[in-house]
Amino acid sequence: MNNKIWMALIMVLAFARPMLAQNAVTLLNVSYDPTRELYQDYNEAFAKYWKAKTGQAVTIQQSHGGSSKQARAVIDGLEADVVTLALAYDIDAIAAQAKLLPTNWQSRLPNNSSPYTSTIIFLVRKGNPKGIKDWDDLIRPGVAVITPNPKTSGGARWNYLGAWGYALKKSGGDESKARDFITKLYKNVPVLDSGARGATTTFVERGMGDVLIAWENEVLLGAKDLGQDKFDIVVPSVSILCEPTVSVVDKVVDKKGTRKVAQAYLEYLYSPEGQEIAAKRYYRPRSEAVAKKYAKQFPNIKLFTLQEIVGDWQKTNKIHFADGGLFDQLYQPGR
């Protein structure tokens, strides 16, 4: 028994030691699910850049999870120096509920604080047995669609808004037609997973559904990992421009004294090097030069913005995703 206590004490000491590291600085980047590979590469590049520029060693810790869940953790006290989440609304929530950053955070960095973008495309079974070519094919009876729950998943909101925007554009702005489209689409969804990774696993591992609606970066990256012989990528005629956003968490960096390095960390995302790393991990870069260089890997889709079809995230959330909003009204599980 005594041994056990000693063991515990030794382990405590062994564990506490690295935390006492002296002149190095540590950042915590709280991010959403599919960015793991991106930030793995990026953190390495930034550490090199920062060391060369200032001589300071920087270690970046990562936390990944569903975007809204991660925002909730930061609100509850997870000490993130920077947040890099799937949609602006989640960072808005941190500003509104925990007041850890000012509400105008989005205007502090270029491109509405969104250094890279993505869009929503489809993944189907090999050979595309159901002949899915565009959004319209998703509402045909007998097509099972896999998409996560927009109440809990950031990616799922973009999926929903992509469908909404398509129907709105196609009908020339007729909202009742768009409602009808959403109703039919979600009738074809057998299960709503809580996050984007969960939905991908449902489609890929459990073999459910005919088509997966997902992040372009996730699909392009996943195609390599999951085996190209089992799936085909389908690119719809139009889709939504997804703008994942990033911000420094002011109260945390001011307390820890990491504002300078945290800010540089996000700004470096906009540099040619940062943009290239994003493009390599299948995020669409903002920089035109880098975009041109990697144009081949991104399918050519006409993209519309959230602003064009609804408005800002506050408004979008109120109309579509709040309790009793359009999604609640239109979603009828089962059939």
Binding site: Q61, A73, D76
Partner: protein, 303 residues
């Protein structure tokens, strides 16, 4: 003395006849029941366990061991050991104290204490985790004060240790209470009349009498501490290499399509489960041996 022995013999022969009665069931009933049990165990216990190991070695032994060289995997293993290393000894001390108090003494609020000890069993682990978020979270009761004083509880190692202690709370106490109650007070009273002090009685009489139950309680407490997912997941914050325990790390790896490392780490937990089973059987066998010994002594005595 003699009477006790005759009583014991009759009860033993009664037990034998019952046992024979059970075997009088027609053979097909016995075979069906046995094979149902075996098929069920095979399907729901053995197969998943086998799948864990098959998947872990799916890409060869080198890939399997490479999974443990990952710094994040090592950190997860270290954190799990740390959490269990703190939670188990604390629950050991608490469990012995509580079981001793409950089994040996009468006091006001005793039934309340018993109910409270059982609480972590009846509460969902997710709720256990959320409770800590509500108390120590930034929006919670103590959150602002903790942040002002730069003390990190949740989304840090202390939160994980706390959550682990909470969910493993009842194991040692629950194991010991019936055991100490069954022992009665006779031996302790004898020790006291012979002049032993309170502590001496406790360490020389009470504790040795329940040692196997104690070992068993510690084993299952440890197994649960290392395997806990729900409560720890809520308070972890999932910072890689810092606040991920083994079960959390397994989930992350699985979600990242890294199946071999995921199952390799899972196989460690499965090994722990198997080891627990082995130690548990040994402990049960040992304690039965201990129970048998005095009986044999007695049977010689009256002759």
């Amino acid at each position: 003395m003699a009477r006790t022995i005759t009583l014991r013999t009759t009860s033993r022969s009664a037990a034998t006849s019952v046992a024979q009665g059970a075997t009088l069931e027609s053979p097909w009933v016995r075979w069906t029941l046995t094979s149902i049990a075996i098929v069920f165990l095979g399907l729901f216990l053995f197969m998943p366990l086998a799948v864990v190991f098959v998947s872990a070695f799916g890409k060869g032994i080198a890939a399997y061991f490479a999974s443990f060289r990952e710094p994040d995997a090592l950190a997860a293993i270290r954190l799990t050991l740390l959490a269990a290393g703190i939670a188990v000894p604390m629950n050991l001390v608490f469990g012995v104290a509580a079981a001793w108090a409950i089994a040996k003494f009468e006091f006001i609020g005793k039934s309340l204490l018993i109910t409270l000890i059982d609480l972590p069993f009846s509460v969902s682990p997710v709720v256990s985790g959320l409770v800590y978020v509500l108390i120590f979270g930034l929006q919670g009761l103590l959150g602002p004060w903790l942040r002002a004083h730069d003390i990190k509880i949740i989304f840090a190692v202390p939160g994980i240790v706390l959550a682990t202690i909470f969910v493993t709370f009842p194991f040692v106490a629950r194991e010991l209470i019936p055991l100490i109650q069954a022992q009665g007070n006779d031996e302790e009273e004898a020790a006291l009349t012979l002049g032993a002090s309170g502590w001496q009685t406790f360490f020389r009489v009470t504790l040795p009498n329940v040692k196997w139950g104690l070992v068993y309680g510690v084993i299952i407490c440890n197994a649960r501490a290392m395997g806990e997912f729900g409560a720890v997941s809520v308070v972890s914050g999932h910072i890689r290499g810092l606040t991920n325990t083994m079960p959390l790390h397994i989930e992350i790896l699985y979600n990242e399509y890294q199946f071999v490392p995921a199952f390799a780490v899972a196989s460690l937990l499965a090994l722990l489960a198997l080891l627990t089973l082995v130690v548990k059987s040994v402990v049960e066998w040992k304690s039965q041996q201990d129970l048998k010994e005095p009986e044999e002594d007695w049977s010689v005595e009256p002759a």
